[in-house]
Amino acid sequence: MCQCCSEKKDIYLPELATVVKADAMNVTERYLQLAMDDGQFDYTPGQFVEVSLAGIGEAPITITSSPTQKDGFELVIRKIGNVTNAVHNLQTGDKIGIRGPLGDGQYPVEEAKGKNLVFICGGLGLVPQRSFINYVLDNRDDYGEVAILQGTRCFDQRLFIDEVAAWEKRDDVQMLETLDEGGPNWKGNVGVVTKLIPMVKTDLKSAVVLVCGPPIMYKFVLMALEEFDVPHESIYLNLERKMKCGVGKCGHCQINDVYCCMDGPVFRYSDLATMPEAI
């Protein structure tokens, strides 16, 4: 091998991690706690990893744990494609390939300090947001009021039930939850997540608003936020794309002139003005 290449890292080569804990959260979501075999793993809320299963492939998954938590890192993976289906067979002690952490577009950990935060999550959107939520709660004095809005399709798909219940009990967090379809087990709000926005006690206009959910959700949440005159500079959106290589080469995640894997996956809404493909 030529010298210049042998000195550089292979950007496509996964490193091995071990499954420390694996748990079914419900029928479709699996929780994994992982530890890199070589120890070191530093990340920021909003970053993602390429999860690699030899013989099956790779899938980009945002880290759900907060870097304030010291034991490895956590992922929650929905069973939906080849890789994610296979992930559901993983057990404690199994090996998994990891590339990352990736993504320069992260949650505004520093910029949001001293400000009020409103998290708007749709379904699985809670998973990436949880990284920043727990980061904020572990550094509670650095941030202002916190409101968390969670919309889930149905009762059985609710995630992190104990954690959400704990957030609900805290007097420094306003936890609002709704289900698209209520049921006999559910006594709370029924309807889509935008219904919760008028219930937020925090002044939305001066808050940092963080949104993550399925692609269809963004349009409606942004329309609702428009009614409250939330400046586009203080809205952050976590976008999903086919981040195949994760390192800005393969072209799949391109949103107009931007690579979601490099400049995202978290974007400031005002920066998306020149990216009509984004929303």
């Binding site: 030529c2 496509y12 030899a54 013989g55 399925p214 086919k242 800005g248 393969c250 002139d257």
Partner: protein, 345 residues
């Protein structure tokens, strides 16, 4: 660096010697057309070709290439192709495309797989002798090239002018018997070829300076042309496949028969293909043909240029024009129509 003059016979001997010492990939006839292929005899080399069916990018970014091998549930090991090779007869527009790819694969995250092949290559470029039916290199400023090759050959009739641009090229030229230093007359003939090509490689003429294209596209996003032209698009990706600056790829795993080991490969992909942007849950971000059609032309003349210092990522080879069955891929036609409709603002 030296500039030599070689008789055509002397050049043939040089090629024959080259074939003895390295893997030479040269332009050869393929039916009535031409393509790059391993060269077994100097007689097969056709430097009078118009354009090759495929650009030489496949030697740096093969249609499929093994990135690594793995053991199921175990470790991954990078794999590299270690053979050196000589690419003989690369036209200036294709050299420009390689220069752009070099920059893209090195920037942000250095791609060792591409660069390994690139560093193993010796590029002997040659000026165009016969323009192809759809070339528009003149419009794109790529009819001649000043860097990116190890040696540049120019056919001046009875002989070649050969200029070394790198130490590798210099060493190769030093080994050529019968080569003389290019005299003033030979250099003047070469200038004449350059002057001619700078004007004549223009079967489709862009109505603006190529450098203006990103600004033109700034105003064209909602123009009806995308919808209009893409109505007959097959989403076949031929334009991507023959393009010397298209480098999007997919990555897939292949398990061996033992079910214990396997390899991870990357393979060409194309932004015109349906499903290119599809994510889990069947959500596809560019699910309309018009969106994908527009994306290619924006990538060539706006998105990629922003990454490589404003260079337009279309080098005017005209291959997409020839490859497109519904005849909608011609970038010049698209850009000219936009200029006609919106003017140069």
């Amino acid at each position: 660096m030296s500039v030599k003059k070689l008789t055509k016979e002397g050049f043939a001997k040089f090629v024959a010697a080259l074939i003895e010492q390295d893997n030479v990939i040269g332009v050869q006839a393929k039916g009535e057309k031409f393509d790059f292929a391993p060269l077994e005899s100097a007689d097969d080399l056709r430097l009078d070709y118009d354009v090759t069916l495929q650009p030489p990018k496949k030697y740096f970014l093969p249609p499929t290439e093994v990135l690594m091998t793995f053991e199921v549930g175990g470790a991954y090991a990078s794999q590299y192709e270690d053979e050196t090779f000589v690419l003989l007869g690369v036209h200036p527009y294709d050299v420009v495309a390689i220069n752009q790819m070099d920059e893209l694969f090195q920037q942000d995250n250095y791609d060792t797989h591409y660069m390994k092949r690139r560093n193993n290559a010796t590029i002997i470029a040659c000026d165009v002798v016969k323009p192809s039916q759809n070339v528009f290199a003149t419009s794109m400023g790529t009819a001649t090239v000043k860097n990116g090759y190890d040696i540049l050959l120019t056919d001046i009739g009875d002989s070649y002018v050969a200029e070394a641009a790198t130490d590798k090229g210099e060493a190769l030229l030093a080994g050529v018997k019968d080569a003389t230093d290019a005299d003033a007359a030979a250099l003047a003939s070469r200038e004449a070829v350059w002057a001619k090509n700078t004007k004549s490689l223009n079967k489709h003429e862009l109505e603006c300076d190529a450098a203006y294209l990103p600004k033109l596209l700034d105003r064209a996003y909602d123009h009806p042309i995308w919808e209009e032209l893409s109505r007959t698009c097959f989403s076949c990706g031929s334009c991507n496949q023959v393009c010397p600056t298209c480098y999007c790829f997919n990555v897939q795993d292949d398990v061996n028969w033992d079910l214990k080991t396997g390899k991870r490969e990357r393979a060409w992909d194309g932004c015109l293909l349906d499903g290119f942007t599809k994510v889990a849950g069947e959500h596809e971000f560019r699910n309309q043909r018009a969106d994908r059609f527009r994306h290619r032309l924006y990538r060539k003349a706006k998105y990629v240029p922003a990454k490589i210092g404003g260079q337009i990522a279309c080098v005017g080879c005209g291959r997409c024009v020839s490859a497109c069955l519904p005849d909608i891929a011609n970038p010049v036609k698209v850009y000219n129509r936009l200029i006609d409709d919106m003017g140069i603002g």
